[in-house]
Point group: none
Chain length 246, copies 2
């Protein structure tokens, strides 16, 4: 069960027989960028710990230090209720194939512990290993050029999880809101007055249409109060005499 409503359900990342320590480090870095910290390794080719992992983790050492080692995929996912195999579609298995956001939805919808398993760099997961999962998750890539490496697959799924879990959180701080309409009206009146003075509206029969066009142009800007003030200052400067300040 989740600790609290505000605590998102973080999946475990399981790397199965990873070959290069460097790739384990890059995967750890990818995970921590999106707040995932639980890494499990199944029979890494060169043993564990691996001296190449640390430098590639670029500071995500905490993930490597806490990584747990297992002999089999079954053991690594024994406490997980939802397991997703990151792989391409497998013709030899009849299993649900999810897009990353569908996986993220399923993780977010459940309080059960989840895992995402990734195969070795070259060969990928064995059929029996894929079959241990509840579903396959596949990043939809260019059918004419599919070349995702291990760390890229990890970062895309970690990102998708993070994106989904952020949706449950309060929205980002409000940007500068657009100015109230009255302030925009003030700007438009000032502009019209100055243009009138300069004889811009000509011929008179077109004056209304031109004013409407200008209104549309300045209304669509979405300028904030601060920006409306700045533009009003710009208009004053443009119509005023040159000021020779030093």
């Amino acid at each position: 069960m989740r600790g609290s409503a505000s605590e998102p359900n973080k999946p475990v990342i399981v790397l199965v027989r990873p070959q290069l320590g460097q790739n384990i480090g890059k995967a750890a870095r990818a995970m921590l960028n999106f707040g995932l910290t639980e890494l499990r390794l199944v029979s890494p080719r060169d043993g564990w710990p691996n001296p190449d992992a640390g430098p590639a983790a670029s500071g995500a050492d905490v993930v490597l230090e806490r990584a747990q080692l297992f002999d089999t995929v079954e053991a690594a996912i024994a406490d997980c209720s939802q397991v997703f195999s990151s792989t391409v579609r497998r013709r030899d298995l009849v299993m649900p194939v999810l897009r990353p956001e569908e996986m993220a939805d399923r993780i977010a919808a459940s309080s059960a512990k989840s895992a995402i398993i990734f195969g070795p760099e070259r060969s990928g997961l064995e059929t029996e290993e894929v079959a241990l999962a509840s579903a396959i998750v596949t990043v939809p890539i260019n059918p004419k050029f599919g070349s995702l490496n291990l760390a890229q697959a990890v970062i895309l799924l970690a990102y998708e999880w993070s994106r989904r879990s952020a949706l449950a959180q309060p929205p980002a701080k409000e940007l500068e809101p657009a100015a109230p309409h009255g302030e925009l009206d003030g700007l438009i009146s000032q502009l019209n007055d100055e243009l009138e003075h300069k004889g811009y509206f000509h011929p008179p029969s077109r004056t209304e249409a031109t004013k409407n066009t200008l209104r549309t142009i300045f209304t669509k800007t979405g300028w904030s109060s601060r920006e409306v003030k700045a533009v009003r200052g710009v208009i004053r400067a443009l119509v005023g005499p040159p000021r020779n300040r030093r």
Copy 2:
């Protein structure tokens, strides 16, 4: 303009002063995984072509071969109407800050050419470069561990674009598209010249910041070519002598 309704609007990827050829190659690979092919390079540190790029591209050579070289960010985005700066939130600029999916929505909603610009590996984009964009796009990462490298930032935004464009939606009703960036630049230069002449920029130490603020204000308008022309006419009228026409 889009070629046809079924052709998604593919953003251009602009790498500004990239340092390592390897990272250019990795970015190309990340792009092609999600079907993006148009790469533009602004003053790559070690020149172009770079022999380290090809091996890192893992087969995405077509992206590297077609990459275009530019001296400035302005030149690289001159034909783009919507420009997004991939960076963290900047306190020195008041600009919209979008999540990747919001950026993807804006690209999908428009038929105008879009670009996403990425800064150098270590230093990131200069303030003036960020200010060229219509909005900042920020991948929401772990506030306690933000360590996305260049290729990872590219792959996440390319993925998000691809995810959004795969939601097969009928194209939005065509509005007047935003003007290409070069036209907006013309307007902003005209305004800066006139304001300079009026002694508006004062004190000199604030000139750059004020210019960046004005750039942001006018970039966010989303004005079309027709509207940019109209505003340029307004500026001419404001600084010109009164014309007494009858």
